[in-house]
Amino acid sequence: MATKKNPPARSEKNGLISVFRRGDIFTRLSFIIFGAANMAHKQIIKGTVYLVIEAAYIVYMAVGGVHNLIMLTTLGTRQQGMAFNEATGIVEMVQGDNSMLILLWGVVTCVLTFAMIALWIVQIYSGDLARRTEAEGKKPLTFVQDVRELFDSHIYRLLLAIPVAGLLVFTVMPLIYMILMAFTNYDQTHQPPGNLFTWVGLENFRALISSGADLSATFWPVLGWTIVWGFVATFSCYFGGMILAMIINSKGIRGKKIWRTIFVITMAIPSFISLLVVRTMLGDKGIINVLLQQLGFTSGALPFLTDVTWARCTVIIVNLWVGIPVTMLMVTGILMNIPDDLYESARIDGASPVMQFVKITFPYMWFITTPYLISNLIGNFNNFGVIYFLTGGAPSSLQYYKGAGKTDLLVTWLYKLTRDSKDFNLAATIGIVIFVISAAFSLYSYSRSKSMQEEESFQ
């Protein structure tokens, strides 16, 4: 039963070249004609499917694919404009090239081509397997058996097919497209179909980092604030949540569940709602300012969201309101796992509650939650919601590139560049910068968790 599923012995080398060498004429033929080996070895349906796909690809490449790839080198040369039409004798609009569509179709063609290369390899091995099975005197799997295998040993093909297709079409392809866009000049003044855009190499990165006067004057401060925000937001919520969880979990507090639920309510409300509500409360005429003045705390409206320093503090404090319950909930589970006898012996030794926290609770938490903290940090660098819904990046600054504000993070700036000013090349460049930052922190986290796995356990 179990032996049936084993593939033929793998004593031979398994590279493409050795497959070519040891194969029969059909195996070699399958290097050019998809499915040839399968068809020759009684896997007619499978072979036909491979062949049909190849034919479809060739037809596609002939009709438009090759053209798409060629156009990709220039991104179009004919600009839309007015031209005299001799036949009709009037000046009329001439459709030019649409650089954006050229780029998009170029990417689609490239991805299709890579998919074909993958299929090419798959069908060569499949054909070779069929040949070897037959050489051993067994019958190669029929199509029906192949389908049945999809539910058993090849279940990964069945279950991953849709997710991978979805990722390819709606994530990978768009991502490649946008990454390429970082190397073009697709900005406000080069909008298709009216205008063409073209490759500019690393020009966007250079402009962002140093040469673009207002651009680099925006980029560095925004990057700085993003990093400050990330750290402050992460650690304030972390410690706040930990303290809250410890208070709720401490002995002698009754109705733990009710207290927890009170804070969880704020977490359950979709954050865009609570943030929008809080924003309306903090406005110049919002209820907080109204109450502060009425109750005699201040004589004028406080600039919660309009002054740079105030706004930055406000987003951090409001983020506490949003983030502390999440950490509280997470920490609660971990706190309960700390062995009670650790505290017991600490108490006997006369350790104060503060000492217990410093020596027992905190090291334990820190040890367990480091990966969470780092992913949380990356999440906060990209915390679109809090900034966008609370301040929308305001207050804006004249020194900044159009539209960007003093509380803008890199992500919200990216969003504004895409949506409002349509500087897609800059947006793509910033996206790549964000990727680099996230990747750096993830790598650090990854190497740390590796070293942590090697450690025996928490001491």
């Binding site: 179990a2 954006m100 998009l104 539910f151 040993s153 279940i155 069945l158 279950l159 991953l160 997710p163 991978v164 979805g166 990722l167 709606f170 994530t171 392809m173 768009p174 991502l175 497209y177 401490s250 002995k251 507090i253 639920t261 009170i262 804070f263 969880v264 309510i265 359950a268 409300i269 979709p270 865009f272 709602i273 929008l276 509500v277 924003r279 309306t280 209820i287 109204v290 009425q294 109750l295 004589s299 309101w321 319950p325 909930l329 997470m330 589970g333 367990i368 990966p371 969470y372 990209n382 679109f384 819904f389 990216l414 895409t418 947006a427 793509a428 996206g431 964000i434 990727f435 993830s442």
Partner: protein, 420 residues
């Protein structure tokens, strides 16, 4: 002085508590507030309250009475300590602290209402007496609670709970407010009504909120089912089976996940346009499902903990992988399946970025997130603020109920993600 120890009390705190109680009384003889050189004491405030004023002016006599009462209880407790006596003292001290705190916020109404001082009162006009009483009342409360072996955490929790619930209370009150408009100069509405909710779903209204709500329900409902199916299958395959390219696949997913998700919105938009899906709700579901696979981590972490022996036993009995997946793994993973459904529902329910990009000005297809954001634009906020509040409640309520019911699963998933 100290007699035999009483069980259930920490008697060493009692004398200190008494001291701070006395300090509070001292504060009553210091100036309560002063404006422009003229100052009033607590005593004159109390006397003025008896001769009339707003209901708020009774706060001052109440605070003073509580301070005196807690001094009396303190003397009683120091000389004859009992658990019950200490509990009553805690109650008095807590009420005293609460009254002093409310006085901080009501100071203006009290002082101006009684006409005690010329000119307008501000909080900074409170004098040494008030601050001493406030500080003493809180220190007293802490000390008495320690003495009575009650957890001081209650004080912190109460204050935090008030802060946390304040915006929620405000949105409740606004949703029920009769007077429309963004700016009102008071906290509690003059009139209450349910019209805001009725208007929201009224067909005659300019806002197709009912439509938005149904849109969101469709997207979140279908989305969470499809996404959960995808996540469970991907997690199963990555956790329970081994195949060529498995780790490569996981690494690729990790790398893709590091790009900001909406960076490629423009391209997605164009692809959807090419497929003829732009401006339709189906697009939201499809795009959500397409990216769902990247959220497999928590689920995989859970599957990893299910013993491999179960699978092996099932294989020996002739079960296929598909049968293992549907008959063994899924039934064993109820908590994580619910967690996945819940988070995906929440995600789709409150997604703003992509719908806002996709639908632009096409209002009939908005989801609630886009619609509510649209309502808070500064050009519209004045006319729609109360309806916005009602809408926010209608949107948040089902989620809150769902969340509180399924909290257990959420915590399990969350702690699973920590180990990640």
């Amino acid at each position: 002085m100290m007699k035999k120890a009483v069980i259930g009390l920490r008697q060493q705190y009692l004398p200190y508590a008494l001291g701070f109680s006395a300090l509070g009384i001292v504060g009553m003889f210091l100036p309560l507030a002063s404006v422009g050189g003229k100052s009033v004491s607590v005593l004159s405030g109390v006397l003025a309250a008896f001769s009339g004023g707003s209901p708020f002016s009774w706060l001052l006599p109440a605070a003073a009475a509580l301070a005196i009462a807690s001094l009396a209880l303190g003397i009683q407790n120091v000389f004859r300590p009992t658990v019950a006596g200490a509990r009553i003292w805690v109650l008095a001290a807590a009420l005293n602290a609460a009254a002093m705190t409310v006085l901080l916020f009501a100071g203006k109404s009290v002082v101006d209402g009684l006409g005690l001082l010329p000119g307008s009162f501000m909080v900074r006009n409170f004098g040494a007496g008030y601050w001493l009483m406030l500080a003493a009342s809180f220190i007293l409360l802490v000390l008495v609670m320690r003495a009575a072996k009650l957890n001081v955490g209650y004080i912190v929790l109460t204050i935090l709970a008030i802060i946390w619930l304040f915006p929620i209370l405000w949105i409740f009150l606004t949703a029920l407010r009769k007077e429309t408009g963004y700016y009102v100069g008071y906290f509690i509405p003059r009139g209450f009504t349910l019209d805001n909710f009725v208007n929201l779903f009224n067909n005659a209204s300019v806002l197709p909120f009912g439509r938005w709500y149904v849109n969101t329900l469709i997207v979140a409902g279908c989305g969470c089912l499809i996404n959960a199916a995808i996540i469970l299958s991907v997690a199963f395959v990555l956790s329970r089976t081994r195949f060529k390219g498995r780790t490569t696949f996981m690494k690729i997913l990790m790398i893709i996940g590091m790009f900001p998700g909406f960076m490629s919105m423009l391209a997605v938009y164009n692809i959807l346009k090419g497929l003829g899906l732009n401006q339709s709700l189906l697009a939201l579901i499809v795009v959500g499902a397409a990216g769902a696979a990247m959220g497999y981590h928590v689920c995989k972490g859970f599957f990893d903990t299910i013993p491999k022996a179960l699978d092996e036993a099932a294989t020996l009995d002739g079960a296929s992988r598909w049968q293992i997946f549907t008959r063994i793994t899924i039934p064993l993973s109820k908590p994580i399946a619910i967690y996945t459904l819940l988070t995906n529902f929440l995600g789709a329910w409150s997604d703003y970025i992509f719908p806002s990009m996709l639908f632009g000005d096409q209002q009939s297809n908005y989801t609630v997130a886009v619609g509510l954001y649209w309502m808070t634009d500064f050009r519209r906020i004045d006319s729609y603020y109360t309806q916005f509040a009602a809408g926010a409640l209608v949107v948040a309520l089902p989620i809150v109920i769902l969340f509180i019911c399924l909290q257990r699963f959420y915590v399990e998933g969350l702690s699973g993600s920590v180990k990640g």
